[in-house]
Symmetry: C2
Subunit: 204 residues, 2 copies
């Protein structure tokens, strides 16, 4: 997020999925080995930020995200050529993804063990389904802000990894909006890189 | 500030100057040598946070603050026994302080070279007056959020030292409210202590 807690800028669109200025939030990520690997490329920097993010995603067996993060357009799914996500034919998840939406849709199976399941009966149902899918592994709450805030408010987050980019966005999708406390999540460690600060919170 | 950018909690009052939960923002400060010294006491911890805060306040020749930080009550000053601040007979400033207010008042001279000047003609005038008073020294923009945001919006801040306490307040006085960019302030360094993260921004 930015210093002022935005995880995406304003005016999100298919052209600018992270809104105006939002991509800059992830600038620190793009040179890293973790990011290269996600694109199936060798190389990339290995540093404290890379260690942090690799550890963050080390043991994920299922992902939960909001409809806006899955993207495309608001409202009911289109019948012809429905939106299939931002990530092409072979998305980087390689495990079941649960998309919270108000609009029912059959599961979308893509290459590389990527299945997107559309959940219309709320965050607790999505969590239960993700738990069954992940087995002994962890569940990643990928975002965006709205879904993250819903889970935080409900006290359903066991660990929160936060990377703060040192600038303001001034508008957009705000993390912690309406969230008044962390329900027992306590700071475990801080990693201060030159261009980003990483925080790891765990349930105390 | 808190993770969600509040520098004071809600429901500020004479009894709770920093609002509900607001004092916890400064928990990291109370054991430090810097804080002990401010109370005229010997001792206190010397650590990375103490170095940061001592450096922050090392060369201050004048302070600017808002009426709400000076405190007491909103509206015109009372004629009998007017509010003289939170800090007793000998406040910890020991230099001229400029209080931004809509209500004119004669300067208040207290012990220990503490003079509170009440400025009714805006932030630029207060800055000019503080510059003249500080001479070659720096000016501390003490707060609260409203005055800090006004100076940030106007691009009149040359350095911003930020200490982030790792919890949420959920409501209160919000830093960066309505501030959309840092006007060239760039992160110079981050100091990650276990219970607080310090950031220093300077004009690039």
């Amino acid at each position: 997020m930015s210093l002022d807690c935005f995880v995406a800028g304003p005016e999100q669109s298919v052209k600018e999925p992270l809104g105006v200025g939002g991509e800059d939030l992830h600038k620190w990520l793009f040179p890293l080995r973790f990011w290269y690997k996600m694109q199936g490329k060798p190389g990339g920097e290995e540093n404290a930020s890379n260690d942090f993010i690799e550890e963050s995603f080390a043991n994920i067996g299922a992902t939960i995200m909001g409809r806006n993060m899955f993207g495309g357009h608001p409202g009911p799914w289109k019948r012809d050529n429905p939106w299939t996500g931002w990530w092409g034919k072979n998305p980087p998840y390689h495990h079941p993804v649960f998309v919270l939406t108000h609009h029912p849709r059959e599961p979308l199976r893509l290459e590389g063990d990527n299945t997107f399941n559309f959940v219309t009966d709320g965050i607790e149902s999505a969590l239960e389904q993700a738990k069954r899918a992940a087995g002994a592994k962890d569940i990643c709450l990928a975002g965006g802000a709205s879904v993250a805030n819903q889970y935080l408010k409900a006290g359903l987050v066991d660990r929160m990894d936060l990377s703060v980019s040192p600038f303001l966005l001034g508008a957009g999708e705000r993390l912690f909006e309406g969230v008044t406390d962390l329900h027992g999540l306590e700071l475990q460690r801080t990693v201060a890189a030159p261009d980003v600060t990483h925080y790891s919170f765990v349930r105390g």
